[in-house]
Symmetry: C2
Subunit: 376 residues, 2 copies
């Protein structure tokens, strides 16, 4: 009875990538039904589950039991939590575990965790035997709406974040919305920044819907599932049009160039700033910079800031606790960002809410002046 | 004048893989012309050259000078020579060097060396920034006819060879036939085993041509270029039909299942057995085993052995210096080979010269009996 009730509440987003097409299931109870969902769709009967020390105590047992019940033998590896896990060291551990579990091409690597675990596990799945199947069970709002769609995987290097990786699409994503109830308010808000981003990129109606319904999204239930499904659908649309990021996929970086610079400026200290918060401030900056360049009305920037502030997200550099380095240092971080092409600055700018575009030759001098003003 | 003469001697094999299509140039003088060939075809102006301690003293200076002349800035990393270099340790070094050289997506990783350097460099090129361009300058006969075609890259794991890697096609292959003059007779013969393999797979006319012309191929000149071009073309045909090895690409493993087991049995000690020699013995065994299974005439096995022996290749297990482990140990190595699917043994068998096929359910008991007979 419970299962039937749950199943009827499930939303499915199909990502039509030809022979790499896959489904994202969104709704309650998906971890306890994971084995059945996988077994009914895919052929492999062996899995390596990769998770972290925070998530394992909460959900690993239920996931493994569900796999067992469906006749899928699994081995698990529990890695440290946090961004530092996206390293060659832990990638090697993960690959070794996958091989030890004798996972063959049609078997699975299952990522149980947030973006860090998803990125690392997807990379391992992409390189063991030159690619085995990959199932994602994202356990944060951010990973449900962002990293579970699109196939970008990777680890960090001393030269920068996500500089080593592959494109490897998942075969199935199970976004269990029950797990979101265990997130802190701050974590949920940080994930919400990426939800709002999809409205700001090219879905003005979705942004307006969020302005009207954000309280229901935060409360849980069907509005939350709807917001997650709309976000996955929005990201899927962009990815399908440009899987390998040769052009329009860069739109997904709205707010991220400024955001990454702020993350670097705070040394990735999550007590000061987490990724979604950087994106929130970055999106406001992108709208303000677009207004400064006479591309958009300042009213749009004000509207974006109003909404993000209302849900409790930081929207200004001064909202970040502690000292920030000078504007010039932020600029250096921007120039080192991988989105810099042949010396020119590429930014995602906007003509208004839901009208973002890729700007290929933004003058560095304008960006510095802007940062100096904002920083003061 | 020299350049014109050389250019006219160049053969081009086109590998038509859609948006991953590329050319293989085969002929003399290609290293000293590498910069010009790359610059005339591709856009990037930065390169990281990956090579090894044996090859660097011979060709690195000429390659770098040629890149310089063409306006391509390069940094080089020189790794130890040998199979052990196909490890995470050296992959990390290579990736770091590529990032340090600020190689962006349209710039290059250039592999200057044999199969080990090609496999490792291709893997690095496939994962830095989720894929940068890749140019191969293969310096052994084996790598010119085998590893430079097909896009398989990778490193070894304690669980087996080539278990970690990606498919990453090169953008250009420059097979300079001048470098083959510096190979030892043994190295050249080992590469020739793979040349003969293409005839045995599905080109009986090519095998007959080799039987008649092998001395000219060994002597150098146009027959050698012709044999290399025919080999690259043969491999390209198979790869184009099945890029990700879901079926017919497995034909390229003719002789390799037995060959890998013999390599493992000699602990990859190249003083006893190198890869091409293992393939030579393995191809004879595959033909003999096919005859034993009443699939082919024993005359074909005798014909194959006669030719490989004539060129100076080992054709029997007893040709390997030193003791071999018992047949059961060889069988274990075969069963652990990654080509084993769901417990069944997959072999490349044959109905005669140039008539190989993928056999999916070869009884293990037959293989053991056969190995026991051959071993005695």
């Amino acid at each position: 009875m419970n299962a039937i009730t749950s199943a009827s509440a499930i939303r499915t987003v199909h990502v039509p990538l030809g022979e790499r097409a896959y489904d994202i299931l969104i709704g309650p109870g998906l971890i306890v039904r994971a084995g059945a969902e996988i077994a009914s769709r895919l052929k492999g009967r062996k899995a390596a589950v990769i998770t972290d020390e925070n998530v394992a105590p909460l959900y690993l047992k239920a996931l493994v039991a569900s796999l067992d019940e469906a006749g899928i033998a699994s081995a698990a590896v529990v890695l440290p939590a946090g961004e530092k896990t996206k390293s060659f060291e832990h990638l090697i551990t993960a690959c070794d575990k996958v091989l030890e579990a004798r996972v063959e091409r049609n078997d699975y690597v299952i990522a149980l965790g947030g973006g860090v675990i998803g990125d690392l596990s997807g990379f391992a799945a992409g390189i063991v035997r030159r690619g085995v199947r990959f199932v994602q069970v994202p356990t944060s709002l951010l990973s449900q709406v962002d990293s579970s769609v699109g196939g970008k995987t990777g680890i960090n290097s001393r030269h920068g974040k996500n500089l080593i990786g592959v494109f490897h699409q998942p075969d199935l994503v199970l976004a269990d919305t029950d797990v979101l109830n265990s997130l802190s308010a701050r974590e949920f808000r940080a994930g919400y920044a990426e939800v709002a981003k999809y409205g700001l990129i090219d879905k003005p109606d979705f942004f307006a819907w969020l302005e009207a319904n954000w309280k229901a999204v935060f409360a849980g239930g069907s509005a939350r599932i709807e917001a997650i499904a709309a976000s996955c659908q929005a990201k899927a649309d962009v990815v399908v049009a440009d899987e390998r990021e040769n052009g329009q996929r860069a739109l997904l970086n709205l707010g991220h160039t400024f955001g990454h610079a702020l993350e670097a400026a705070t040394a990735y200290d999550s007590s000061r700033l987490v990724h979604g918060e950087g994106v929130s401030i970055g999106m406001v900056l992108a709208h303000e910079f677009s207004a400064r360049m006479n591309l958009a009305s300042p009213d749009d920037a004000r509207r974006v800031e109003r909404h993000l502030k209302e849900v409790g997200l930081p929207t200004r550099m001064s909202d970040i606790p502690g000292e920030l380095p000078p504007a010039e240092t932020l600029m250096d971080a921007i120039a080192q960002d991988k989105k810099v092409k042949s010396g020119k600055l590429t930014f995602i700018l906007t003509r208004g809410v839901g009208q973002s575009f890729v700007a290929d030759d933004v003058p560095a001098s304008e960006v510095i002046s802007f940062l100096q003003e904002k920083h003061a």
